[in-house]
Amino acid sequence: MVFNSFSFLFFFAIVLGLYQLKWSWRARKIMLLGASYWFYAAFNPPFVLVLWASTVVDWYVAGRMSREENARRRHWLWLSLLANLGLLSFFKYGTFLLANWTALMAVIGIKFVPLNWNIVLPAGISFYTFQSLSYTIDVFRREIRRPPGFLDFALFVSFFPQLVAGPIVRATDFLPQLDEPKQASGAQFGWGLVLVVIGLFQKITLADAVLAPVANQVYNSALIARTYDTWIGTVAFAGQILFDFSGYSHCAIGIAMCFGFILPDNFRCPYAACGFSDFWRRWHISLSSWLRDYLYIPLGGNRKGTIRTISNLMMTMLLGGLWHGASWRFLAWGGIHGFYLVLERGAQAWAKKIGYKPGRKMLALFIVLTFPLICVTWVFFRASTFRQAYHMVVSMAFTSLGPMRSDPAMARTAMLVMAGALVLQWCMRSTTIEAVWNRAPMAVRSVWLSGMIFLIATVPVQEQPFIYFQF
């Protein structure tokens, strides 16, 4: 059940209707929890048990941890880490690890024939595992001193708007919202619906109808694409993944707001980033801040000398890449981002040393350079194999000039949309959608919103799942 489907619309209307009934706050929370499990079961019913098991373990562990002292607390934390990362490893990395182990054995001459387990990945397991894990770590750090009841905790882990693809919510942000009865104000409800429309517009009209066909044409073809095709396909994919994921996040935030809940922002004009650390402050913010707070800083961050800083950065980005999927390509994607960050940090240190302060023109140049370099990393994200990624990157370096193979009309439309999106992001890099909406006259807002609804309803496109569901 995805947000861009009629079944979800029906589900949302029913849950919203039930939520408006004059029940006790506890009864409404139970209803929301039931709806969330129903929503998750729609993907694959047995995996509700995995979600439930993860919830029970972390709730129990956190409860025990809050009552224990020092060394024993650490034991409970290890249990939580083991349970969560164990589940994640089994479902997400099991096949990958086994395949690599088999290959390694073959290299040293041992024929290892693994069992064919045919493991199916539960939807959103990376998201709710990280969310649940952050809670036990927060309890361990005593940032949460009063563990919640089971109902509140289960709702925190499984709240359906953000269950399958984030934003990854922190317990400290969400649990306090469950203390008092929540009801969306008229403004919240209206704005929540606007965010849903913006999200669906990004997903259906921009990502699925305009950009995905162009990216697919280049990446699904086995023919080695020419330079123009690879750039067009990759830029189209850069747009597709942004609008697909940002569309989901907008929908999630908007739907939660219709119930009166507040979720954190996940995107802030990432393609207007000036450099790579700026990119990660704008792209998938809930994941990058998670990695920073629960991995990079505990590893020592930048406090333990240059070598440790570099290794911490690389480690964080490699694991961030691996979080996306069990594949060497995702590892490469994370590794290239880590390399970019290390390079940027080195350049900043050098500039500081010689007393250089970049002017406005230089900053503009950094912004212009950041986007194509980010696009190069997307090749590894989108390609089916390393071999394809290699050919694509080589082709992007102007080594395969020749007539374009992509459909010119589709490519032209996609590039125009991307040019418009980039200009819009650069214009809005220091502001927010809400601020822009506030400044616009009422007539412009209505026309804008109506235009988006019109395009959502009329673009010829097949229903597609969100890309990040696979993670």
């Binding site: 940032e143 922190r170 400290t172 942000d173 008229g186 403004a187 919240q188 409800f189 209206g190 704005w191 619906l193 606007v194 066909p213 697919n216 044409q217 990446y219 699904n220 073809s221 086995a222 023919l223 080695i224 935030i253 707001m257 507040i262 979720l263 954190p264 922002d265 802030r268 913010i285 809930s286 801040s289 998670w290 920073r292 707070d293 390609a383 089916s384 194999t385 394809q388 459909d407 010119p408 009309a409 809400e434 601020a435 909406w437 506030n438 009422m442 007539a443 807002r445 209505s446 026309v447 919103l449 109506s450 609804i453 019109f454 395009l455 309803a457 009329t458 673009v459 010829p460 097949q462």
Partner: protein, 356 residues
């Protein structure tokens, strides 16, 4: 701890009720206009009568092109690529030619090396030629190319071209509230006597200019575009009406000649393969296109070996069809062996052929 920002902290200050009221009026109005416009123009003739206007539908760009996917490539090991000595290229009728029952793309040859079937369902000539060109660098041992000869324009399914037309039967609103239908409506109003041509049709040559194709009715199709049981021969007859001389347009032949020369220069045998038609359809085909077929054969014979299974049938093979165009799999296997027998890389001895 993370410094999160929250959308609710910056809730817009304007009246939501007023905004949504205006939006509802505007968007509903716009949707009504486009729906009424599409219903009035009805660019695919779906409102008045049962005929699909294939001319209009084929003029539209398909949603996606059918090409080999990287996933399919990965299923075949590099070793097999290196040892492939023969490839089959063509449409769905050539796609059937596989000893392993249409599951795997490759099979070992008795004479060593592998045969790789690179056919694509619904492939056009442009795609077939493109496939050969792109595959050549991957196949260092290649000795023969079996090129199945599709009847131009016959393999394109209407559903691939305009899927929304097929939604009409189930979800009329998806057809009416559709920008592509609207674009087609506008085209039709602006050029009522000429049909638009999409870029993807360019490589199909100038067939329309030489011989305008007749309209094809949907009398043999159910509301969802499937051929009605027992009406398959009639349906394909109607399709054959679309095929006129030249079976391959001049522009495509201009692409084929250098490709054939390139293969000859690399000492790669080129075999043109005409897949069989069922008896009823074959009779109809020859009644309509006998002279064109013979001339076409001659022009191809100048470029390679021609294996004409429309005219001739191997003695040891009785054709059985799943529909008038497509053979049963096991018959197709026998046919493949016959094709191989007539190449330099044959698996078995050649068969005598009976007359048509």
């Amino acid at each position: 701890m993370a410094a999160h920002t929250f959308a609710s902290h910056r809730l817009p200050a304007f009246s939501m009720a007023k905004l949504w009221l205006q939006t509802a009026c505007l968007s509903m109005g716009a949707l009504l206009v486009i729906g009424a416009f599409n219903l009035a123009v009805d660019p695919f003739d779906l409102r008045f009568g049962p005929s699909l206007n294939l001319e209009r539908i084929t003029a539209m760009r398909p949603l996606d092109t059918v090409l080999w996917s990287e996933g399919e490539f990965r299923r075949i090991s590099p070793e097999i690529w290196r040892q492939t000595t023969m490839i089959v290229v063509g449409d769905s009728r050539a796609r059937q030619l596989s000893v392993r029952g249409n599951i795997d793309r490759f099979e070992p040859l008795d004479t060593g090396g592998y045969l790789l079937n690179l056919s694509i369902g619904g492939a056009t000539y442009g795609e077939i030629f493109g496939t050969v060109r792109e595959m050549l660098p991957r196949l260092p041992q290649l000795k023969a190319v079996v090129m199945s000869v599709p009847l131009e324009r016959i393999g394109v399914d209407v559903r691939d071209r305009a899927p929304e037309v097929y939604l009409m039967g189930r979800q009329p609103w998806r057809y009416l509230l559709n920008l592509r239908t609207a674009a087609q409506s506008v085209q039709l109003l602006m050029h009522p006597h000429s049909l638009p041509h999409s870029s993807s049709d360019d490589d199909e040559g100038t067939l329309e200019q030489l011989a305008p194709k007749p309209m094809i009715s949907t009398e043999n199709l159910d509301p969802w575009g499937n051929v009605i049981e027992g009406k398959a021969a009639d349906f394909w007859k109607k399709r054959i009406e679309r095929v006129r001389w030249p079976l391959v347009s001049q522009r495509l032949r201009e692409q084929l000649i250098p490709l054939a020369a390139e293969l000859r220069a690399k000492d790669i045998q080129l075999i043109f393969f005409f897949p069989p038609l069922n008896p009823e359809l074959r009779q109809y085909y020859f009644e309509q296109l006998q002279a064109e077929h013979d001339r076409y054969l001659q022009s191809l014979a100048a470029m390679g070996v021609v294996q004409d299974y429309v005219s001739f049938r191997p003695n040891n093979l009785s054709y059985r069809f799943v529909d008038p165009m497509h053979l049963e799999i096991n018959v197709a296997d026998g046919l493949l062996r016959d094709v191989l027998a007539h190449s330099n890389l044959g698996n078995s001895s050649g068969n005598q052929k009976s007359d048509r």
